[in-house]
Symmetry: C2
Subunit: 394 residues, 2 copies
């Protein structure tokens, strides 16, 4: 476990009774001074109540706290759901002694059930009491749904001799497919940067991280990435060099978290990078990588440790981008399995099968047409995934 502390921030996570087994399900982040905030929200046309609320509130660029629950998505809950999200924020604001509009709200869990707002109200005093700098660990637990491990990352950087910190937490294991953002992710930093700049940096980092992963091709109604920057380090982003430096660090944080989500994919036994190069454009490469990464036939073959490259090339072929089948090379790690669109034979296939027995695999598809490239991270598709999702609500 990394040192999950960021100066000026505190967090907490408690059990409020939203989850059945008495696990932690309600959490809060609090900045001791108002922070600059920016967010990226789901591209799904169906948006949960807290997403709708946050999209409005975040326009001010200022926030000081974030309250989040698991066990209930507060989605498709109508006007009552929106009222519940606001009430949840107001309870937190009262407990913390700050204005209500400085509180953001997130929810994750089952869609379409009313939020048990009374349980949340009862839990608020205990939640606020347990706020502490090292409370992010409890928060990572409290936001888990089908996740099997908590997910977090911590990095430090230096600008003009001033050290700053970026910590990130996330959750997500199913209903994962890149479209603006994936499930919940909260970033806290003590760097100083304004709202517009933070938004731009966060958009870039999201595209390079959460929009490059898939577990099952479904996009959640609650996807949210929020960054809070309280400026307490004294490090200020003033120049384009600073911006590039911070962008790299933020990319690194989000990519790390995105990979943690894929590693914890529902039922997953393997972590797989699908790398496409030699496409006519990066966009073409991304389309092919996504199509291969989302193919159930590719993913079940990976689960079966079957070097069935025919399914990979068939998935690439349906991505609706130009390709020349006679030029395609496919590698499993560094084993050249397909050359000029044809298999390299049984001996090579035995080598490729050995690669597939590893828990982390890279599959590279070289179209040999241009300079476009892209990577997507995915996992295999197991019997366990079906079992988890057939029984999710029971």
């Amino acid at each position: 476990m990394e040192n999950l502390i960021c100066p000026g921030f505190m967090a907490a996570g408690v059990a409020s009774g939203l989850k059945k087994a008495g696990e932690k399900d309600l959490a809060i982040i609090f900045s001791k001074i108002p922070a600059k905030v920016a967010g990226v929200f789901t591209g799904n046309k169906i948006k949960a109540a807290p997403v709708l609320l946050d999209m409005e509130r975040i326009k001010s660029g200022i926030g000081q706290a974030l309250i989040v629950n698991s066990g209930n998505a507060n989605c498709c809950t109508g006007d009552k759901g929106l009222d519940d999200a606001k009430t949840m924020a107001s309870f937190a604001a009262s407990g913390l002694g700050i204005p209500e509009d400085r509180v953001l709200v997130c929810s994750t869990g089952v869609i379409g059930e009313p939020l048990p707002i009374d349980r949340i109200q009862q839990a608020i005093p205990g939640l606020v009491d347990s706020l502490r700098p090292e409370g992010f660990y409890d928060l990572t637990r409290a936001i888990m749904t089908t996740d099997t491990v908590p997910k977090s990352v911590s990095r430090q950087g230096k600008i003009d001799g001033k050290t700053f910190t970026v910590i990130g937490v996330t959750k997500g294991s199913g209903m994962i497919c890149p479209d603006m953002a994936t499930m919940l992710c909260f970033i806290c930093t003590d760097i100083n940067a304004d709202h517009e700049l933070l938004k731009k940096l966060l958009d870039n980092a999201t595209k390079r991280s959460f929009n490059r992963i898939t577990i099952d091709g479904d996009t959640s109604t609650n996807d949210t990435v929020i960054i809070m920057a309280n400026g307490l380090s004294g490090a200020v982003i003033k120049s384009s060099e600073h911006m590039d430096y911070f962008q790299n660090l933020l990319d690194d944080v989000l990519i790390d978290l995105a990979k943690q989500i894929v590693r914890d994919g529902e039922g997953a036994t393997k972590f797989v990078e699908i790398c496409v190069r030699g496409a006519l454009s990066d966009n073409d490469a991304h389309k092919i990588a996504s199509t291969v990464a989302n193919s159930n036939l590719v993913k079940t073959a990976l689960f079966g440790e079957d070097a069935n490259w025919g399914r990979i090339i068939a998935a690439a072929g349906r991505a609706k981008v130009p390709l020349d089948q006679g030029k395609i090379n496919i590698f499993f790690d560094d084993v050249l399995m397909v050359k000029n669109g044809m298999g390299c034979g049984k001996a090579v296939e035995a080598e490729a099968t050995r690669v597939l027995m590893k828990p982390e695999i890279s599959i590279s598809i070289d179209l040999n047409m241009g300079k476009g490239c892209a990577s997507v991270f995915t996992c295999d598709f197991s019997v366990e995934y079906v079992k988890i999702n057939a029984d999710y609500r029971s």
Copy 2:
């Protein structure tokens, strides 16, 4: 079993050793006179050798025979694969005593392995010897891969007092997603119609049938629908009334076959119609129906008989078409489960769960925005699907 006979056509199916267990794997269709032919081929950019060959040959509009093998897709097999497809046709042409360019070729099975052309050559004399009018039943067996049941349909119609017959056979169970055509489908009829008209009628019928089904979202490299019309009935399509009449009948044949494919979906336990209405356009409705029908989360919930409508509305929301979440109604058969974007409560959910226990289910999504509508047929997603596809080649 219907009476699978069409005047002037004969068929046969034998075991040539391409499949491991000695099952039938090589088949032929023969028209005693040259027939008008038309075809629809896979939209996948990666096309198998026989698809490339047929796309050229079918331009003449004339064909007399079709040879097809299962157990090997002859795809990603390079120049050798194309030579093998031609050789397969020439063996059949010699056996039948007809010109080589009147023979079409189809293959289905594993991608990327060389076609054992010697086994096919050895089997040709026996195959030709066993040609008979009632041989289509053997053909339906010989084209099966992961299919568990043979699939066929037979219809009769009448134009100007002359009775004609349309018979259809198909195969397909996995790698099924609408994109121009799905797996192999052969239609034989004794109606008289020219090549261009047949092509138009077949395109329309394909859009209304095979392009409206999905099993796993993957599109095959070998998808082919071919119609052969030998005109022996004396019934001629001369007027637009005739055309509409035959179009309806052909639609009916292809829809019947398409539904048979979904019913036999790999590991499927349920046959599900996703019906979207009230969209701004038919195209919008089709996008939503397809997205819901392809959602792994929806399909695993169907397998689990869980009335988890949140996954349905979440999938609808990521289809990238306009919708108003407060107007959406969702029915499970005739049970109104979601009204104005919100669930109708636990009592209704219990009713919906009873619907889900049935083997055939209709899910209707009413957007209440316009007049656009579309249906897609799909199946559930079971543990068995993963097992079938993890072990496919072993």
